[in-house]
């Protein structure tokens, strides 16, 4: 099977979807001729023409709003926001419109759009190229929110998202585009070509939305992670020697609560980790659900390890980033509590 980077896998997903369905269109800032600043759409305009893949003016509200209108017509737009940090001008269209059109029109109109965006830090991008705004979407009824963590999933989830009849926020941890990153910024990164999850089938397949996966089975505790943090969690498990079960959530809404609950009931301990700022982050939702469903199985409070409640700093990136050392500390505390 070919090994692809996550960028190539994402591109392949759009290629497959566009090839199968003429109604799939792709647009965004710099995505046409150039193929996107991360090159995720490279070659698509050449292959499918300027009507199917094209550059958009720099106006995120316009990009989302136009996609909504196209979806009402019957197309299936898959749009790119250049960085998740730049989605806010389009937030009204996502929250007030895309998320509610099916509901408010009782299905007269629907909104099958995918909003792709690179997310997360680890690239010295400072406050406006590093944010993880997933919690601003998971709170919005009517949206689905996906965070991919490897090429295989990225392709399968993106095809599933494009085929989904409802709006999907598709977050791509940019630090994972070229290889798994476990937070050890001082070590060379394995490229995806050396990783089994870099094996991506040609052609069509899906990874269903709403299903988590256990990346590392374990008995001592459960770690709930997504995106880059999946690798941080795996590294922390190895380094602490704690036999942690690492769950890659993949879809935040709808959430695979079954897999989570089964694991925590087994291990009795749980740590949630994400890169986003702490207060009001998605970890709060996860902790709440876990303590609700597993209260009498819990032997320690559910801990969370997150970005600090500050804007994402530039120079101090590695102090800010929740790496294996910080996660390991919380894991040990949770074992000892």
């Amino acid at each position: 099977m070919p090994r692809l980077t996550m960028i190539e896998a994402i591109r392949s997903a759009m290629d497959v979807a566009m090839g199968r369905d003429d109604d799939v269109v792709v647009f965004g800032e710099d995505v046409g001729y150039f193929g996107g600043v991360f090159r995720c759409t490279a070659g698509l305009q050449q292959k499918y023409g300027k009507s199917r893949c094209f550059d958009a003016p720099i106006n995120e509200s316009g990009i989302v709003g136009a996609a909504i209108g196209m979806a009402a017509y019957g197309l299936k737009p898959c749009i790119e926001i250049q960085f998740a940090d730049y989605v806010y001008p389009g937030y009204d269209q996502i929250v007030s419109e895309a998320a509610r059109i099916r509901y408010r029109s009782n299905g007269e109109f629907t909104c099958p759009i995918v909003v792709r965006m690179p997310t997360g830090g680890g690239i010295f991008g400072g406050q406006t190229h590093s944010q993880s705004p997933e919690a601003l979407f998971t709170h919005v009824s009517g949206l689905k929110t996906v965070v991919c963590s490897n090429p295989y999933d990225a392709k399968g989830l993106l095809i599933a998202a494009i085929e989904d009849p409802d709006p999907v926020i598709f977050l791509e941890p940019k630090r994972l585009y070229n290889g798994p990153f476990d937070g050890h910024h001082d070590r060379p990164v394995t490229p995806w070509s050396k990783h089994e999850l870099g094996e991506v089938p040609d052609g069509h397949y899906t990874v269903p939305l709403g299903k988590a996966v256990i990346r590392r089975p374990g008995n001592d505790m459960t770690i709930l992670a997504y995106g880059t943090m999946v690798y941080v969690a795996q590294a922390a498990a190895e380094e602490t020697g704690i036999d942690a079960e690492v769950i890659d959530l993949r879809t935040l809404v709808p959430l695979d609560l079954e897999t989570i609950t089964a694991s925590v009931k087994k291990t009795g301990r749980c740590v949630v980790v994400h890169e986003a700022t702490q207060t009001g982050g998605f970890a709060g939702e996860l902790v709440t659900l876990v303590q609700e469903a597993c209260f009498f199985h819990l032997e320690a409070p559910v801990a969370r390890v997150t970005g600090y409640d500050t804007p994402y700093p530039h120079a101090q990136e590695w102090s800010y980033f929740p790496g294996p050392a910080r996660l390991g500390r919380a894991m040990r505390e949770t074992m000892e509590a």
Partner: protein, 409 residues
Amino acid sequence: MEPSRLKFHVPEPEVRPGGTPDFSNVPIPKAGIAPRPPVDTKPEDMRELAYGIIRVLDDDGNPVGPWAGSLSDEELAEGLRHMMTLRAFDARMQMAQRQGKTSFYMQHLGEEAVSTAFRKALEPGDMNFPTYRQAGLLIAGGYPMVTMMNQIYSNELDPLKGRQLPVMYASKEYGFFSISGNLATQYIQAVGWAMASAIKGDTRIAAGWIGDGSTAESDFHSAMVFASTYRAPVVLNIVNNQWAISTFQGIARGGAATFAARGLGFNIPSLRVDGNDYLAVHAVAKWAIERARKNFGPTLIEYVTYRAGAHSTSDDPSAYRPKTEAVAWPLGDPVMRLKEHLINKGLWSEERHKQAEAEVLSGVLAAQKEAESHGTLHAGGKPSVRDVFEGVYAEMPPHLRRQRQQAGV
């Protein structure tokens, strides 16, 4: 030399409550003088249309000039009936709200020509992205009044299952996109729909609608940028009814001469029309729609009209404008003007009009009776509580199913 101090400028309407309405500063060009360029004219060759007012009916109710003649006698009579129906419908629903049969209502008083006449220029399959003040698109499109009322009453036959505020209709079949409570969002969506139609090599065009006040919103700009860049087959309508709740149009318009002029910076042909002149609205709509359908791209149209009623049932305009302003409005009343024209043409009479009023009213009353037999907001048939949980997604996800179970439905 000491530089002079800066001064802060806030535009103010000419008159406030207590004053005498004064529209003498509103320039009203004579009917018939605005040219009618061919639909393939370049925008830069017709800029003056953004500054005048295209008018067909003159002060005596006779059609004049190059924009006259787009409608047959039957169509004119039908147009009058549509406007009268919308007005009667509004009056009854306004009253129903006062009677507690629903929570909220918004009427069109004085603006009936705009949406009813525009609708008649569209083809089946074309799509409107309306605001809350274009129910005339439904009335003139033949959408059943009783269905509108079911929605307004949130009753057991409400097509929107009680989920939406009254008047927030939605109908794909009738080319009426789901109304949003959030202003201006629909404007760029209209452009997106039109882009899609062009992408698919279709023949259907889109129409976006916005109020004078809402042109200040950012999505007005998004719509202009995208429409201009992709030459989208869309008609972008601005209904300038002079007011945005309590705020006069000068706050959104600022130093600009007209709202239509906003299109010039995008090289989008921009026309200003007498919005109380059914004939002018129809003629300009037809022109713009033809332009879009023939691949000449977007058109921006400003309808100059006046919101004669309150903003909504939550509003009392006497707090911010003279009570008699509507009467003083120099472009008159659209129903009266079309009526006068039909009488001039020998197609109509005062008597015939009274009779039509009675017919229209009885149609509205019959619809109301039927709708009320299916319930009103607080009495009779209701949508189900299950409908709260349905339709958030195509398929109900587990967490919503759990919540629905907790709700015991």
